[in-house]
């Protein structure tokens, strides 16, 4: 059982290795990287490639670790007790299973994605230490320990908004998805648009990399932006020669809005152009 990337997801050797190491040693894999380099997609593709079910847990700023385990709905139970419902006698009706529980009780190995773990409170990763280490937790209401039938493959993504605690990091494998080099990027584009002409891709990528080189951009365009932009180029029937004429010191490439998404960056380019004109 080895992950080697999929037809729709070009993965590099180092990434494959990190994924396989974490699968073999049954430890969580922490993925970081620039936005738009396919961190979240990785879990989908791993699940796809290995033919496993994927359980996703998207973390928000209000998410607590407990929500991933289970939630006890006391209010419903109180209401039912007033209505004289029979269900009320069994507390397990009011335990809502979280994503971790779902992953643990599955009879087959699943892929569990904990997406954007850095969004949550700073204590969040610490609260999950034992659960991810031993793959079990104790449910107080039911007075029983829930432990994983088969340890799931855990993939965690982070956008670096908060530092993760050391104790948490110690338990993970770590991989940083760096921005793809030209060859890899070309392969990625080919996966998305197999029919696109080579020359057009070449020219578009030159413009794209030039843009990334501009010093001081707030948000450099990433792979997903390139993919969107190429789509627009195709729809707009832009020819390769039009792209060839693009020179950032004079004019903007067509559909810049797809590549640069905030006005400060566009403003920056405008200022650069002005400086060249002088």
């Amino acid at each position: 059982m080895k992950f080697e990337g999929t037809e729709s997801y070009i993965s590099t050797r180092d990434l494959n290795l990190a994924v396989n190491a974490s699968i073999t040693l049954q430890r969580p894999l922490l993925i970081k990287g620039e936005p738009g380099t396919g961190k979240t997609m990785l879990a989908f593709e791993v699940a796809e490639a290995l033919g496993k079910e994927l359980i996703t847990w998207h973390v928000k700023s209000t998410t607590t670790a407990q929500q991933g385990l289970y939630e006890y709905d006391a209010v419903s139970r109180l209401r039912d007790s007033q209505l004289g419902d029979e269900m009320v006698n069994d507390i397990s009706h009011y335990i809502k299973k979280g994503k971790l529980w779902q992953a643990f009780e599955s009879d087959e190995q699943v892929v569990l994605l904990i997406d954007e773990i850095d969004k949550a409170d700073i204590e969040f990763p610490n609260d999950l230490l034992l659960e991810l280490d031993r793959m079990e937790f104790y449910c107080y209401e039911l007075r029983k320990t829930v432990s994983a039938n088969i340890r799931p493959i855990v993939i965690i993504t982070s956008n670096n908004e908060k530092e993760l605690p050391d104790a948490f990091l110690r338990r993970c494998f770590f991989h940083y998805i760096s921005f793809p080099d030209r060859e890899t990027l070309k392969a990625i584009v080919k996966v998305h648009y197999p029919d696109l002409e080579d020359k057009l891709i070449e020219n578009a990528m030159t413009v794209f990399y030039d843009l990334r080189e501009v010093d001081g951009l707030k948000k450099k365009p990433s792979t997903s932006e390139l993919i969107d932009w190429l789509k627009l180029l195709m729809v707009g029937k832009i020819t390769e020669s039009e792209l060839e004429e693009v020179d950032l010191s004079e004019n903007l490439p067509p559909f810049t809005g797809a590549l640069l998404k905030n006005e400060q960056d566009q403003e920056l380019l405008r200022r650069i152009r002005q400086r060249f004109r002088r």
Binding site: R13, D14, L17, A18, L25, K32, R170, G216
Partner: protein, 400 residues
């Protein structure tokens, strides 16, 4: 098996632990990699290094340790490892020696020579007069003395006369990653809060629920409220460069703590005294100057303002127009400080200079008086008092 390698990483300050080392051995045992140095490198990195900031250093050490097995990347060797340049050797040369090495050639010549040396040299070096390292009289490196030296990797300008500064760190923004010892500061800053209930109603309001339920003849009726959140808004103005170099670490810590603690935190930099321009990104300060008035217009007077600066400057900078050391200012420093004070009633000044030294610098006294004694030292107790002052206008600095 790779214990030496592990210890090398550990001794070089990379945060590797035994648990990670054992994981690494386990992974090797499982046969995840097969006879490829590349794979071995990726696996060890994935097991041992948990932060991309450390990758560069790891590459260097890996290359150093496994040199001879296969070279990783020659470009990485070309970079000057920080390690060599660490402040470990400070040497004072005699006047005679200084005289002797004066004028080892012009700047261009030095640059050329540096490139040559970097290619020639592969090992750490300290002292002597040829290789790059710390101390010694070679024109390259830090903490040595050569009047035309090129400074590499030193915390601050020691003689303040380097021809060219290569230190990337010099112009680095205040690093808000500094987690070390910021916990106390966070706790102090935590006192500055304005709790408001806003957003989704997700907390049970027990009192109201009981009240409504009893009115409802015992039939449950729930009442929810949004949970409390800290909504304080903070505008941080930081003095940077020049005499502030001595305090940069302390300021970084404060910045790091503040950034973590306050959701609405805006920060700007200035140099010595507030004038008509501030900037956000220290690296691009000359390109991206922001008019101070624009800042005033953007943030309303609800913002609590914390000025961090040593207030150590020539009194001219405060009193006269064109007094700034850096540019021609149309209006004196005090004019701008006055505007700031009027715009934001809740304002304090944090000074990293220790209190006993305050009286030796005239401008500190002036600013202090101007701030109505709301200047506090950047210490834990000073910070606590400052936070109190932001909430209560009557609080002034008291020396214990």
């Amino acid at each position: 098996m790779f214990l030496d390698f592990f210890l090398l990483l550990k001794n070089d300050g990379l945060p590797v632990t035994i648990k990670e080392y054992l994981t690494f051995l386990e992974a090797l045992d499982e046969g995840i990699v097969e006879y490829s140095v590349d794979d071995f490198y990726y696996l060890s990195r994935s097991c041992l290094i948990k932060h991309e900031h450390h990758f560069d250093r790891y590459d260097l050490l890996f290359g150093y340790y496994f040199e001879g097995i296969e070279k990783i990347n020659t470009e990485d060797f070309m970079k000057i490892p920080e390690d060599w340049l660490r402040k470990s050797f400070v040497n004072a040369l005699t006047e005679e020696e200084k005289e002797m090495i004066k004028g080892m050639g012009g700047l261009d010549k030095l640059m050329e020579r540096l490139k040559e040396l970097m290619e020639e040299q592969k090992k750490r070096h300290q002292g002597g007069n040829k290789w790059i390292g710390t101390g010694g009289t070679s024109p390259f490196g830090a903490y040595g003395y050569n009047p035309e030296g090129i400074r590499i990797g030193q915390d601050e300008s020691r003689h303040r006369r380097a021809v060219k500064v290569w230190d990337k760190r010099e112009f680095r923004d205040l690093d808000d990653d500094v987690e070390l010892q910021t916990r106390n500061m966070k706790m102090a800053l935590r006192r500055l809060r304005i709790l408001t209930r806003e957003g989704v109603q997700e907390e049970l309001d027990l009192d109201k629920t009981i009240e409504k339920t009893s009115k409802n003849a015992g039939l449950l009726e729930l009442e929810m409220v949004p949970s409390k959140k800290n909504n304080v808004k903070v505008l941080l103005l930081l003095d940077i460069g020049g005499s502030m170099d001595d305090h940069i670490e302390l300021c970084s810590r404060l910045f790091s703590a503040a950034k973590y603690e306050f959701k609405h935190l805006e920060h700007y930099y200035f140099h010595n005294c507030l004038y008509e321009f501030v900037w956000r990104n220290n690296r691009r300060r000359w390109q991206e100057a922001i008019p101070t008035l624009e800042v005033f217009n953007t943030y309303n007077s609800d913002y609590k303002v914390i000025v961090v600066g040593d207030a150590s400057m020539s009194p001219y900078e405060l009193l006269y127009q064109n007094g700034s050391v850096e540019h021609n200012n149309d209006e004196a420093g005090f004019v701008w400080l006055e505007r700031l004070k009027n715009r934001y009633p809740d304002i304090v000044w944090l000074n990293p200079v220790p209190v006993p030294q305050w009286r030796y610098t005239e401008s500190i006294g002036m600013v202090r008086e101007f701030m109505d004694d709301r200047m506090f030292p950047l210490t834990l107790s000073g910070l606590k008092q400052a936070i109190k002052a932001l909430k209560d206008k009557k609080v002034k600095f008291e020396k214990h």
